[in-house]
Amino acid sequence: MQFTRRDTLVMGAGAAVATFMPLQVFADATDDVSAEFAMGETITDGGVEITAPEIAENGNTVPISVNAPGAVAVLILATGNPSPKVIAFNFGPRAGASSASTRCRLAGTQDVVALAKMADGSVKRASATVKVTIGGCGG
């Protein structure tokens, strides 16, 4: 069977749609979770630092750290995971700094988002893109 130039283009477009569709669905879930965390506050960029590797060979253990000076709570979201929530930190009176690190699973290349709730109720946001070579969700 011979593919014409047009066939190839159509197939390419179809493949692209097929690839991005599920990610779009996950992105909506991220928005829902973000809105719930923000509790009506507007989310502004900056004021939070998220550190993640640019390229993670193994999506099963991706080190993520977040530093949010003045934050009382931090929520980390993986926008491309089947369930976007990764971890929520609440800093108590004995916390030395509003920073924490952990290791998470990422299903594939995606943005990792940190939302920080400041003492005055405002919500800050930062994100980092992680390229994942082998996804960490099994199956």
Partner: protein, 109 residues
């Protein structure tokens, strides 16, 4: 109760009053995310540690709500700042209701 759950915590022996220092925690746990399927295609039920907290002399340092996206053997690193000598207590809560604890003493000065 998951098998072979063993908490490990690293806290400095001493610290200066009011100065932030690092605490590292690790607990061995399979953290089954609930997203995987077994060889017959049936979903494997979620079994994770869903909550971690660290307290110092009864006052909270940090609490964390863990989700299925946390890796096997969850590792959490954070900072604490204390004014007096005392004991850190660490608590992990499993999906099945079990609780794992560890504690470490620290001296100021």
């Amino acid at each position: 109760m998951a098998d072979n759950v063993k908490p490990r915590v690293r806290v400095p022996r001493s610290a200066a009053a009011g100065e932030a220092f690092e605490i590292k925690t690790l607990i061995s746990h399979k953290m089954e995310s609930g997203q995987r399927k077994d060889s017959d295609g049936n979903p494997i039920p979620r079994s994770i540690i869903n909550h971690f907290s660290c307290d110092f002399n009864g006052e909270n340092v940090i609490q964390a709500a863990l989700e299925g996206a946390i890796s096997t053997n969850p590792y959490i690193q954070f900072e604490a700042s204390i004014e007096e000598s005392g004991t850190f207590t660490f608590t992990w809560q499993d999906d099945d209701g079990s609780e794992y604890t560890d504690s470490k003493d620290i001296a100021v000065g």
